[in-house]
Point group: C2
Chain length 488, copies 2
């Protein structure tokens, strides 16, 4: 271990996103403020990732109440807690070995929770069957994705497994691919069409990759992280046909299925099963969901699940083997998943409060998304596609040539420099993404309305200052932006 050269080359090759560096900067600034440094802002607001509780969103009471009772069962006698909370906790404790959430569970999760998940899926998909044995709980959906990638990984050079991934994609995905040793085959999403998934792009990426690696799966993020695009039935159908024709495993990140605005979320599984037996019985698919989703947002409890469809049971056996090396998934998270997917029923003591809390979050999220999009589009040098779901906005920057030159001189990506300066000058932390070859920001809008207002005010003020300083070249980008907007 003495020399860096001896660290596993695959680990050394893990791409670290700009997020890490910006995170360090944000932490640094926060520390400075704590130590009395004078800044034009009182605190850093972090909207760079999907961490709603950090941004001030309140946890769902029912979930927290039941978990508190499970942790400290003396509370079963606390009459100030709603009856259904106590009954639910009692039932969950019965499902834990030794009646304690301190016991390990099976590596694929508590059977009780897996059954709850399967029932949820069946309800969601209008009665389509789901088998608890095909549901695997893990410490976050990221961990589940990792398990499947590890199963797929093999070969080297032009025989190395490749996975088709959207461009842009969730910023947490590329490091996983690197760690496992899988080639990332990017297919472009079309910004001008609201970041739609287009078949030509999938086909094009696949053709280009063949001979360079062995593409074996296609990763879809729907609702799109970070794009906010939501696929309709027809688009999903086309992707399924493509995967079937090319014999690709479908990896569907449906983590934000609970946050689709003004339309209905349709799951890949539902579409697949309605396409007839030819597809429903052959296309291999894994769908991921997470406790860190929009309305519950319990990121810190770490739980997610995957449902596996049409996978060879002998291969599925290895999913379990892989999860075994974690020994067990955190139990508080597993129970929270159960609660999230099987909330109080009408008539239960907690039902009204629960429904209202979820509704408030959902309404706030869609209003935030719309308000933020409008304000960003009002800015010179910025264009933002409307989000149809998910929790992010993903605006594009059109910055003056001078700014681009400055970034080049500093050896920093343009959008990263933008975010650094925004952090330093206004204490607002948004994500930077240049993977598309364009300059984008990633902005979580699942935050309290007043927090969002503060973010937008500071961001707009910074942005206008930046553009004014370079207004000599404004004409240039104004034309770009106008053209871009018209094409929508």
């Amino acid at each position: 271990m003495t020399s860096l050269q001896r660290v596993n080359p695959r680990v050394r090759a893990i791409r670290v996103s700009s997020q890490s560096a910006l995170q360090s900067l944000a932490a640094h600034i926060t520390q400075d403020i704590a130590q009395g440094a004078q800044k034009p802002f009182k605190e850093v607001i972090d909207v760079s990732s999907g961490d709603s509780h950090r941004a001030g969103l309140k946890p769902v009471s029912f979930v927290r109440q039941v978990l508190a009772v499970c942790l400290y069962p003396e509370l079963l006698r606390d009459k100030s807690l709603p009856l259904d909370v106590r009954l639910r906790a009692e039932r969950l404790l019965e499902a834990c070995d030794g009646g304690s959430i301190g016991s390990y569970t099976a590596s694929s999760g508590l059977l009780h929770a897996r059954r709850s998940i399967a029932e949820f899926i069946t309800r969601r998909d209008a009665g389509l069957p789901s088998d608890a044995r095909n549901v695997f709980i893990s410490a976050g959906s990221q961990r589940a994705v990792m398990v499947i990638l590890k199963l797929l990984a093999c070969g080297d050079g032009d025989t190395q497994t490749g996975v088709l991934t959207p461009m842009p994609c969730p910023h947490t995905l590329p490091p996983l691919l690197d760690e496992v040793g899988v080639t990332q085959v990017s297919y472009r999403l079309t910004e001008e069409r609201g970041w739609a998934v287009e078949l030509d792009e999938l086909q094009h990426a696949l053709t280009a990759a063949r001979g360079k690696c062995e593409p074996r799966a296609v990763y879809i993020s729907n609702p799109g992280n970070p794009t906010g695009h939501v696929q309709d039935r027809k688009s999903i159908q086309k992707v399924i046909e493509f995967a079937a024709a090319q014999r690709l495993l479908l990896l569907v990140d449906e983590v934000y299925q609970d946050s689709v605005f003004g339309q209905e979320f349709i799951s890949y599984k539902k579409v697949l099963f309605e396409m007839g037996r030819r597809y429903a019985e052959t296309v291999e698919m894994v769908s991921f969901h997470s406790l860190s989703c929009a309305c519950v947002g319990e990121c810190g409890l770490r739980a997610g699940y995957m449902e596996v469809v049409n996978m060879d049971p002998e291969v599925m056996h290895f999913v379990d083997t892989m999860l075994c090396t974690d020994i067990s998934t955190p139990v508080t998270g597993q129970l929270a998943l159960d609660l999230m997917l099987n909330p109080p029923r009408p008539g239960d003591a907690s039902s009204d409060a629960y429904t209202q809390e979820i509704l408030l979050t959902r309404t706030m999220l869609s209003q935030n998304a719309q308000r933020a999009q409008e304000r960003l589009n009002d800015l010179p040098g910025m264009s933002c596609q409307p989000a149809m779901g998910g929790i992010f906005l993903y605006p594009r920057l059109w910055l003056p040539a001078e700014f681009e030159e400055q970034a080049e001189m500093l050896g920093v990506d343009v959008e990263v420099l933008y975010c650094q300066r925004l952090l330093e000058e206004e204490g607002v932390f948004v994500g930077a993404d240049g993977t598309t070859g364009r300059h984008h920001l990633r902005l979580c809008v699942l935050v309290p309305a007043d927090t969002l207002d503060a973010v937008l005010t500071r961001l707009c003020s910074f942005h206008r200052r930046l553009m004014d300083a370079d207004n000599c070249v404004q004409n240039d980008w104004t034309q770009h932006v106008e053209k871009h907007r018209e094409s929508n």
Copy 2:
């Protein structure tokens, strides 16, 4: 994914211990009972792994009370909870972003908890400094071991990284080595000397491995899992000298440091730092500890930590990179770690109750270990070294030739057949281990005293039946056992 042949060969090569098969059998029997099947026992008692809550041990109240308040902060106003519980919860919530345990933490853990851990280490090691920046929290110590193994893994064939591991070793370790692609280089522990670590054996294993792989680290389990051996200062010193001379990274599993009977636990770090600068400033070491340890036993919350000593900062940076792919460690577990390592202080409202609970567990554990060892040694065809720490007994079986022949005929390992029959006939689940070339059982004694009694009664009754059935050959093994005992 359609064919098994295309699953990652490294995943396919993961050795699955007999534990999985026995677990399935146990689950099957439990299910049968639930469905009304008549058995000579009412329930299966599982003492095969270190899962004390499952076996009926009660959680530590202080830990659970504080966690309950953290989950549901309304309880801060509940005056029936001790004052220090509420104050502690308040402080922990302040350490969480957004005041919620639903927020992600830094991938290496909450700074607050890392500092608490460093302070604990300093107190434990009589004032030796520990820096929070060298402490990394992860979802269980197993996960931490995995991260370090991944850093070390490289090469192929005779250049593949090798890790010296004890024989016997924790049954969860070999699958990790397989998954990562590291060669397991076993060094024998000496059963006849209470499973001591002997330098000759380390040296012998290393010499034999050179040329076949590249040994780069040595894994030590102290207190020994599953052996119960506890190293004294001199023995630790010798291992450190060996690691230094051979330039091996020391991986020290000190998970059961809170359960050493009748003597004091000495950490590897303390010994290292007392060996003078030549060692203290050069020997690279990682020490692991866990929330699943003996006295707290919160396996289901999933948290552990590692302290890294003398590692190149540039290499240490990759520890963080690796933890990043998990995004965040479960927060309830992190807080529980903090509480376990910084319990109530004398004078605090919860102090007496806490001290008493821990003391009770510790006393029960050491009494259990002694009682069980005596009863097992009373059996014909069984010999058990006394445990000096940890939570397991690891008796050796000396079974009649007929039984061995039967196992061979069935194509099952002798000790696995023994455990299968014990499970079927008496509903007692103990672990089976044949990795030493001998036949051993693994028996967790961190269970309530009456549960242990039930286990011992059923086990002894099964064992005597088995031996009686084959008493024609008893003379044979009696001689072996007697000889073996005399040599101790």
